[in-house]
C-alpha cells in the first residue's frame, strides 16, 4: 500500500492521472453530494437540454444521504452509499466533466470502461464509518432539490476526507487486486 496522498478538488488532469488503485488519499476542497433520485433528476435535466444544478467540470460527486445535523453541527453522520445504483447515470456526468466519484461497492464494467475513456477516478470511503467521516466535513449547503431531504444535492467543504482509490483511469481495480491477494489465505 502506497503512502497516503493528499489531493485537492476540483481534480486536475495531473492529479487524476497520478492516482492508482490501492492508493489511500486525503481529499480536501469541495464535494457535491448526489444519490439515487438526484442523479435521475440531473440526467433528466440533461435530456431536456437543461443545465446541471452546479458546474460539474473537474468536480467530485459523493454518493451520500446524510442524517440531519444536530444543533451546532454542520452535518449529521455522512458515510457513503452503495455506488452501483448510480451506474445508470454516471457516464452522462463524466461526459459533462465529472472527474471523481466517492461511494462504496463495485461498479459495472461499462462504468469502469467509461472512467478510462473520460479520465474519472472512483474512490471508496469506509461504509458505515459515518460519524467519523462527518468530522472531515467543514460546511454543508443544500444547492438543489431541497424537497428530496437526505437526497438533496449539497455542496460540502471537506478537509482530509479519507478514501481509497478503487478504480483508476488505467483499468486498475482495488476490489479485484485485494481479493486476489488474500484469496485462500484463510
Amino acid at each position: 500500500m502506497a503512502d497516503i496522498k493528499k489531493i485537492k478538488t476540483p481534480l486536475d488532469a495531473a492529479t487524476v492521472e497520478s492516482l492508482r488503485a490501492g492508493d489511500q488519499v486525503l481529499i480536501s476542497g469541495v464535494l457535491y453530494t448526489a444519490r439515487d433520485t438526484a442523479h435521475k433528476r440531473m440526467v433528466d435535466a440533461l435530456d431536456r437540454g437543461e443545465k446541471l444544478p452546479f458546474d460539474i467540470s473537474g468536480q467530485v460527486v459523493y454518493y451520500v444521504g446524510p442524517s440531519p445535523a444536530k444543533p451546532g453541527k454542520v452535518i449529521g453522520s455522512a458515510g457513503p452509499t452503495t455506488s452501483y445504483r448510480m451506474d445508470a447515470y454516471a457516464e452522462r456526468l463524466m461526459e459533462k466533466g465529472m472527474k471523481g466519484m466517492i461511494g462504496k461497492g463495485m461498479r459495472d464494467k461499462k462504468i469502469i470502461d467509461a472512467m478510462k475513456k473520460h479520465k474519472c477516478v472512483y474512490f471508496a470511503a469506509i461504509g458505515g464509518a459515518a460519524a467519523l467521516i462527518a468530522r472531515s466535513i467543514k460546511s454543508a449547503e443544500v444547492i438543489a432539490y431541497d424537497d428530496l431531504g437526505p437526497e438533496a444535492v449539497r455542496r460540502l467543504e471537506v478537509v482530509d476526507f479519507q478514501a481509497f482509490v478503487i478504480n483508476d483511469v488505467y483499468g486498475g481495480d482495488l476490489y479485484e487486486i485485494g481479493k486476489a491477494e488474500y484469496k485462500s489465505a484463510v
Partner: protein, 279 residues
C-alpha cells in the same frame, strides 16, 4: 388479561430506535476487536480500528453510527393474555418511530416505491408479530440499512440440492454482494419454511449474539463451514482484500414442504443494530 398502553409501546419504541442507531451492542464491538486481531490484511485491520473509533464517536456524541438509520423493523412477541389499550399496535409503533427518528436526528429513508416521495417520518414500520404464551410483550427494534438489505436473496432449491447446494448458494451470494453490504458483515441464513417464513428466519438469525454457535450441532457445523468458505474468498473488510469479510454466519431452519428446500440469505452490515424491550 394484562393491559399495556399504546403510549408505553410508543415510548419504548422511541427509546429503542435512537439507542439502536447510536449505541452499538457489546457483541458487535467485541467482534470488531477480534477482527482487528485476526485480520491478516493491514488495511483490513485499520478498517476494524476505524469502526471501533466510529462507534465510540457515535456513542459519545449520540449521533448515528451510520447515516442510513434504516427501515424500522420490529420483531414483536405478544403474549396472548395481553390487551393493548389506546390504539393499534402498528400505530403505537409507528408513533414511536416518528418521535424517535425526529428527536434523535435520524435519517428518514422511507419512500413510495414508484414516485420515490419520502414519507418524511420513516414510517410505516415493518412489524412482525408472533403470538406467544403469557402476559408479556417483547419488542425488538432492528433498523436495517438499504445497502445490506439490497443484497438479500431468496431461492427455492430442489430438495436434491441438499447441504452442498445450500453452502454453494450462500457463498456465491456473498461473493456477488462483495463490498456492497459494508463488510465485515453478519450473514443470516434461513432454511426451510415457506418463502416468506424462510426470509423471516434469515433476518431473525441476525438478532443472535454475534458468533454464538447454533445449539443444533448440525447447523453449527454448517455455520462454520460457510463462514470459512466466505472468508477464503479473500474479500476482507470493506471488500478491500483480507480474511474477515464475515464476522459470523447464523443459520436457522424450519420444516418445509416435501417439494421444497427454501433458502434465504439476509446480510447485515457491520453496524448490526438491535435493541430489546420487555413490557
Amino acid at each position: 388479561m394484562r393491559t399495556i398502553t399504546a403510549e408505553a409501546v410508543t415510548n419504548a419504541v422511541r427509546e429503542m430506535v435512537v439507542g439502536a442507531n447510536t449505541n452499538l451492542g457489546a457483541d458487535v464491538l467485541a467482534a470488531f476487536r477480534k477482527g482487528a486481531k485476526e485480520e491478516k490484511s493491514p488495511v483490513g485491520r485499520a478498517v476494524f480500528e476505524t469502526l471501533i473509533l466510529n462507534a465510540e464517536i457515535a456513542r459519545d456524541e449520540k449521533v448515528p453510527i451510520c447515516q442510513d438509520t434504516g427501515m424500522a423493523v420490529f420483531f414483536v412477541e405478544l403474549g396472548q393474555d395481553v390487551h393493548i389499550e389506546g390504539g393499534l399496535l402498528q400505530d403505537a409503533i409507528d408513533e414511536g418511530v416518528r418521535r424517535g427518528y425526529a428527536d434523535g436526528f435520524l435519517r428518514k429513508s422511507i419512500c413510495d416505491p414508484f414516485t420515490r416521495a419520502n414519507t418524511k417520518d420513516n414510517t410505516p414500520a415493518v412489524v412482525l408479530v408472533e403470538l406467544v404464551k403469557g402476559d408479556g410483550l417483547k419488542i425488538i427494534a432492528a433498523p436495517k440499512g438499504g445497502g445490506s438489505e439490497n443484497m438479500s436473496r431468496l431461492t427455492m432449491l430442489a430438495p436434491s440440492a441438499g447441504k452442498k447446494g445450500i453452502v454453494d448458494f450462500v457463498v456465491k451470494r456473498c461473493e456477488e454482494a462483495g463490498s456492497n453490504p459494508c463488510p465485515p458483515v453478519i450473514v443470516g441464513v434461513g432454511i426451510g419454511g415457506s418463502a416468506e417464513k424462510c426470509m423471516t428466519l434469515a433476518k431473525k438469525a441476525l438478532l443472535r449474539e454475534i458468533g454464538s454457535a447454533n445449539p443444533d450441532k448440525e447447523l453449527a457445523e454448517l455455520e462454520a463451514e460457510i463462514l470459512q468458505k466466505i472468508n477464503a474468498l479473500g474479500m476482507g473488510p470493506q471488500g478491500l482484500g483480507g480474511t474477515v469479510f464475515a464476522m459470523a454466519v447464523h443459520v436457522e431452519k424450519h420444516p418445509c414442504h416435501i417439494a421444497s428446500l427454501p433458502l434465504a440469505v439476509n446480510i447485515s452490515c457491520h453496524a448490526s443494530r438491535h435493541k430489546e424491550t420487555r413490557l
